[in-house]
C-alpha cells in the first residue's frame, strides 16, 4: 500500500484538495461523525444551560452589580492577563519544543520529560510557593538580605506575579501541542527549502513555523482560556480577574444568580477569544505531501548555540519546577524535624492515577469524532461544534461542578457522587485539550491516504488502525498527556463530585495547605509531581524511540 502512496507526485507547497465525497452528509457520516459530535457538544454545554437557568433568577441588585464601571475594568484586566500570558507562553514553549524535538541539545530527552511537568503543579500551590520563595521577604530575599544586604524585593503581587506564575504553569499546553506537530512535520519541505539555499533560520520561519502555527494556536487557545478560569494563582497574587469576582460571589454572599450572570459574561469573553483565534487562522492546509514523512527529520546541530539553549532550558526548569519542588522539600524536612506525622499517601496516589487515566481515555474517545468532523467535513456547523467544546474550558471548576451537582442530584441520582460522573466532569473540563491535540495532528494527515487504503479493500477500522492512527499518534499522546496532567491537579470538581472518601493527591495538598499544615501538604505535592512524570516520561521516550527506529 505504501508503494502506491509513494507513487503520488509530491508537491512542495500545498496539496490539491480532492473532492472525494459528496458535500451532503452521507448516512455513514451522520451516524459516524455528526451524531457523536452533537452528542458530545450537547453534554459539554450542560453547564451553560445550568448558568442560563440560574441567571434567570437574578434580581435587580444583580444587574446593578453587573452594570458597573468596575465590571468593565475587570473584563479589561482579565483579557489583558490572558493575552500577556499567552504571548509569554508561546515565546517559551516554541523554542523549547523545537530544541527538544529537532536539535542536538544535550540531555534532550531529560528536558523533554521535565519541561512539560510544571503543568501538574496546582496553581494555588505554585503561587503560594512563589510567594514563599521570591515574594517580598520570602526565603530567597532573606538569603539575599543576609549575604548582600538587600532589604526588600520589588513587589511581585498583582499583574507581574499573576503573569509569571500563570505563564510558568501553562506554557506546557503550547509545548506539548507544538512538540506533537514538530514530530510529524514533513521533513521533505525543509529539505527542499534548504536545498534551495535558505539558511536554518529562514527555513524555520518560512517553512517550519507556518506548519506549527495551528499547534501554537491550539495550545495558545488553551492557555488563554485557562487564564480566564484560574482562581488559585490570581487570588494569591491578588489580581482581580473575572473568576476571582465570581468566587467572591459564591464565597461571601452565596449568591448563585449573580455568580451565574458573571459566569455568562466570562463565557462571552471566551467566545470573543475563540472568534479571535478563528480570525487569525488562515485557510492553509497542513498535511504532508507524501508518505516519505515517516523518515525522521534531520537533527539540527546547534553548534555554538548549544550553551545558550542549555542555559535557557535550565533556567526555565529551575524556575518552574526545581524552585517549587525545592521549597516543598524544605517544608517537608522542616515539618519532619518538628515531629509532624505524614500519613500514608498510597490511596490518594492510586485514586489520582485512576481518575486521571479514566479521564484521559474517555476524553480522548469523546474528542475523536469532534476533531474528525471539523477536519474532514469543514463547514461552519462542524467548526461551530468544535468550538463549542472549548467554552466550558473557560469556566471556573466550581461552576462546572455545581452544574453537575444540579443535574446529577435532581435528574440522575443513580450517577450522583459516583466515579463515572466525576470522570464525566473531568471530560467536560478538559475536552478541548484533547480536541485541539487530535485536530492539529489530523490536519497533517492527507485524506487521500485513507481513501487509498479504502480503495485497496481495507475495512474502515483497519484503515484507521493502519494509516490514521500511526500518523496521529503524537497528537493522541499529547491530548491524553494533557488531560492526564491537568486532571491530576484538578480540585473543585473532585472535592464536590467524587465518591465519599475518594481522596486524591490534589485534595490532600489542598486540605493540608488550607490549614497551614505545610509539611503534610508537601508530601502529596511532591508525589503528585513524581507520579505525573512517570507516564509523561514513558510517553515521550517511546515517541522518541519510535522516531529513531523508523
Amino acid at each position: 500500500m505504501s508503494e502506491i502512496l509513494r507513487q503520488q507526485p509530491s508537491q512542495l507547497r500545498r496539496l490539491r484538495v480532492i473532492p472525494s465525497q459528496a458535500r451532503y452528509p452521507t448516512l455513514r457520516s451522520i451516524f459516524g461523525l455528526w451524531i457523536p459530535t452533537i452528542f458530545v457538544a450537547g453534554l459539554v454545554l450542560l453547564p451553560i444551560f445550568y448558568l442560563i437557568l440560574r441567571a434567570y433568577g437574578a434580581d435587580q441588585s444583580t444587574w446593578e452589580q453587573i452594570f458597573r464601571i468596575q465590571t468593565l475594568e475587570t473584563v479589561g484586566r482579565t483579557i489583558w492577563l490572558a493575552f500577556a500570558v499567552t504571548l509569554a507562553s508561546t515565546a517559551i514553549a516554541v523554542p523549547v519544543a523545537w530544541l527538544t524535538v529537532r536539535s542536538d541539545l544535550p540531555f534532550r530527552r531529560l528536558w523533554a520529560v521535565l519541561t512539560p511537568l510544571p503543568l501538574v503543579i496546582p496553581s494555588y500551590v505554585g503561587a503560594y510557593l512563589m510567594v514563599s520563595t521570591i515574594g517580598p521577604r520570602g526565603l530567597f530575599q532573606n538569603w539575599l538580605e543576609s549575604s548582600l544586604g538587600i532589604e526588600r524585593f520589588p513587589d511581585i503581587y498583582g499583574f507581574p506575579g499573576a503573569m509569571l506564575i500563570l505563564t510558568l504553569m501553562s506554557y506546557p499546553f503550547i509545548l506539548l501541542s507544538v512538540r506533537a506537530a514538530l514530530q510529524k512535520i514533513d521533513p521533505a519541505l525543509e529539505d527542499a527549502a534548504r536545498s534551495l539555499g535558505l539558511n536554518a533560520w529562514s527555513t524555520f520561519w518560512r517553512v517550519t513555523f507556518p506548519q506549527i502555527r495551528p499547534a501554537i494556536a491550539a495550545g495558545g487557545l488553551l492557555v488563554a482560556l485557562y487564564v480566564l478560569r484560574d482562581f488559585g494563582a490570581v487570588s494569591i497574587m491578588r489580581y482581580n480577574t473575572f473568576t476571582r469576582v465570581i468566587y467572591i460571589q459564591y464565597q461571601s454572599s452565596f449568591n448563585r444568580s449573580t455568580a451565574a450572570v458573571l459566569a455568562l459574561v466570562l463565557v462571552s469573553i471566551a467566545i470573543l477569544i475563540l472568534a479571535f483565534e478563528i480570525w487569525t487562522r488562515g485557510k492553509a492546509r497542513y498535511y504532508r505531501s507524501d508518505a516519505s514523512a515517516s523518515k525522521p527529520a534531520a537533527v539540527i546541530q546547534l553548534g555554538r548555540w548549544r550553551w545558550p539553549a542549555l542555559i535557557f532550558c535550565s533556567l526555565l526548569v529551575g524556575a518552574a519546577l526545581v524552585m517549587p519542588a525545592g521549597m516543598l522539600i524544605f517544608w517537608l524536612l522542616r515539618g519532619l524535624e518538628a515531629g509532624e506525622q505524614i500519613g500514608s499517601l498510597w490511596l490518594a496516589a492510586k485514586n489520582s492515577i485512576l481518575g486521571s487515566s479514566l479521564a484521559s481515555g474517555v476524553t480522548l474517545v469523546a474528542a475523536l469524532p469532534v476533531a474528525a468532523l471539523a477536519i474532514r467535513r469543514p463547514n461552519p456547523v462542524s467548526r461551530l461544534l468544535d468550538r463549542l467544546t472549548y467554552i466550558a474550558f473557560a469556566l471556573p471548576g466550581i461552576v462546572i461542578a455545581l452544574a453537575l451537582v444540579f443535574f446529577g442530584a435532581n435528574f440522575a441520582p443513580f450517577l450522583y457522587q459516583t466515579l463515572p460522573l466525576l470522570v464525566f466532569a473531568y471530560a467536560i473540563l478538559f475536552l478541548p485539550e484533547a480536541v485541539g491535540a487530535v485536530r492539529t495532528s489530523m490536519l497533517q494527515v492527507p485524506p487521500n491516504f485513507e481513501e487509498a487504503g479504502r480503495s485497496l479493500g481495507q475495512k474502515p477500522l483497519q484503515v484507521f488502525q493502519k494509516i490514521t492512527m500511526p500518523l496521529i499518534r503524537p497528537g493522541l499522546a499529547a491530548g491524553a498527556g494533557l488531560v492526564f496532567l491537568t486532571t491530576m491537579k484538578e480540585l473543585p470538581a473532585t472535592l464536590i463530585l467524587a465518591p465519599y472518601g475518594f481522596k486524591t493527591l490534589a485534595t490532600s495538598v489542598w486540605s493540608a495547605v488550607s490549614e497551614a499544615f505545610f509539611a503534610r501538604a508537601a508530601a502529596p505535592a511532591l508525589i503528585l509531581i513524581l507520579v505525573s512524570s512517570l507516564p509523561l516520561a514513558a510517553l515521550i521516550l517511546r515517541d522518541q524511540k519510535s522516531e529513531h527506529r523508523s
Binding site: L33, S132, A401, V405, T507, S514
Partner: protein, 341 residues
C-alpha cells in the same frame, strides 16, 4: 474518510457503555447506620474526631470535604435530593445560607442548651461547636504589645501606613465587618474602612497567608482569627516571629465566632445525626478541639490552650451570631469602599 466512522461508532458505544456499567459499581449502598457529613472544616482537623465517633458509636460517617461556601452552594443545588445528613460549617454564614433556603431541621433543645445563647441559631437550626476570636496578629521582632492601640480605631492612624495586612474575601473578616455595622452603625463602619484603606493595607487571600506575611515582616500587623498562629508555631517552632494581641478594649475587634453544625431536613438518619452532634459537644470532642485546633471549647470545664485569654475574660461583644448573618450587606460595603472587586 469513511475510515473513522466505524471506529467512532464503536468508541461512542464503548464510552456510553463504560459510563453506565461503572454506575452500578460506584453507587453507594446506604445502610441506616451510615451518616453523610458535608464538612467545610478541613480533613486534617476533623478526621481524627470522626474516627473516634465511629469507634465509640459504631456509626460509619461518610464525609465530603470542601470549602464551606462551595458545600453550601452544593447543598442549595441538591435541594431536597441531597444525600447529606449533616453540614459542619466553618462559619455561621454558610449555615445561614442553607437555613434560609429551608434545608435545615430544628434541633432538639437538650442539644442547643449545652451552648451559650450567643453561639447558636436563634431559630434552633444550628449549634456552635468551637469558638475563635478575632485578634490582631503582630510581628514580634518589630513590635511589642505596648506599641499596639487599644482598639481597632487606632489602626486608622497614618503611622500604620503600609503596615497592615487583612483578608477581605475571608468570611470571618466579613463577619467582623457585620459586627461593626451592628454595633457602630453603617456610617461609622464605612469611615473606619476608609481610614484603614487610606493606610494602604495589603490584601491577602485568607487568614493563613496573612499570618505568614506578618511573621516574615511583609506587614507588621494583621486582622485574623486567633488559632492560625498556633498552627504555624507547631510547624515552625517558637521562633515563628508573630504573636496574637487581644484588643483590650474589645468591641468588634474581639468578636467571638464559631464553627457550627446543622442537620439537613431531608436526611434519613435523624437519630444517628443527633448522636453525632451530641458527640461533638461532648467533653472528648471539645477537649480535642481545644488542644489540637487551638480553638475555644463551647462547653464549660475544658482546659484551653496555654496562652489563650479565656473566653470569659475576652472583652467580646455581647452579640448573637444569628444576628450576624447579613454578609451580603458587608460584601456590598467592602465593594463600595474598594476593598473587594
Amino acid at each position: 474518510m469513511k475510515s473513522q466512522h466505524e471506529f467512532i461508532i464503536i468508541s461512542t458505544l464503548v464510552l456510553t457503555g463504560l459510563l453506565f456499567s461503572a454506575c452500578t459499581l460506584g453507587s453507594s449502598d446506604e445502610s441506616s447506620n451510615t451518616l453523610v457529613l458535608y464538612s467545610g472544616r478541613s480533613e486534617s482537623l476533623v478526621e481524627p474526631i470522626i474516627t473516634q465517633f465511629t469507634e465509640a458509636s459504631g456509626i460509619e460517617v461518610q464525609v465530603r470535604y470542601g470549602s464551606t461556601a462551595e458545600l453550601a452552594a452544593t447543598l442549595l443545588e441538591e435541594g431536597e435530593n441531597s444525600p447529606a445528613d449533616l453540614f459542619f460549617a466553618q462559619d455561621p454564614g454558610g449555615l445561614g445560607a442553607v437555613a434560609d433556603a429551608g434545608l435545615l431541621a430544628q434541633l432538639p433543645f437538650d442539644l442547643m442548651y449545652l451552648v451559650d445563647e450567643r453561639f447558636r441559631s436563634p431559630q434552633n437550626l444550628w449549634v456552635g461547636i468551637s469558638g475563635r476570636a478575632r485578634v490582631v496578629v503582630y510581628n514580634s521582632e518589630r513590635l511589642s504589645p505596648d506599641d499596639l492601640p487599644e482598639d481597632l480605631h487606632g489602626f486608622t492612624d497614618p503611622a500604620w501606613k503600609g503596615r497592615i495586612g487583612l483578608p477581605p474575601t475571608n468570611g470571618s473578616f466579613q463577619t467582623m465587618i457585620t459586627g461593626m455595622r451592628q454595633v457602630w452603625g453603617e456610617e461609622a463602619t464605612r469611615e473606619w474602612l476608609l481610614g484603614i484603606l487610606a493606610n494602604e493595607p495589603v490584601f491577602y487571600e485568607k487568614n493563613t497567608p496573612t499570618v505568614a506575611a506578618v511573621a516574615s515582616g511583609e506587614v507588621d500587623v494583621g486582622f485574623v482569627n486567633h488559632y492560625y498562629l498556633y498552627r504555624f508555631i507547631a510547624e515552625e517552632g517558637e521562633g515563628f516571629a508573630a504573636r496574637n494581641y487581644f484588643l483590650p478594649s474589645g468591641g468588634p475587634g474581639s468578636l467571638v465566632m464559631v464553627s457550627g453544625i446543622g442537620r439537613i431536613a431531608t436526611g434519613q438518619n435523624e437519630a444517628a445525626a443527633l448522636e453525632f452532634i451530641e458527640f461533638l459537644l461532648s467533653e472528648t470532642a471539645q477537649q480535642y478541639f481545644a488542644s489540637e485546633t487551638f480553638e475555644y471549647p463551647l462547653i464549660p470545664d475544658i482546659q484551653i490552650f496555654t496562652g489563650l485569654t479565656p473566653l470569659t475574660e475576652l472583652n467580646a461583644l455581647d452579640i448573637a451570631l444569628g444576628d450576624l448573618s447579613d454578609l451580603q450587606g458587608s460584601v456590598e460595603l467592602l465593594q463600595e469602599v474598594g476593598a473587594l472587586p
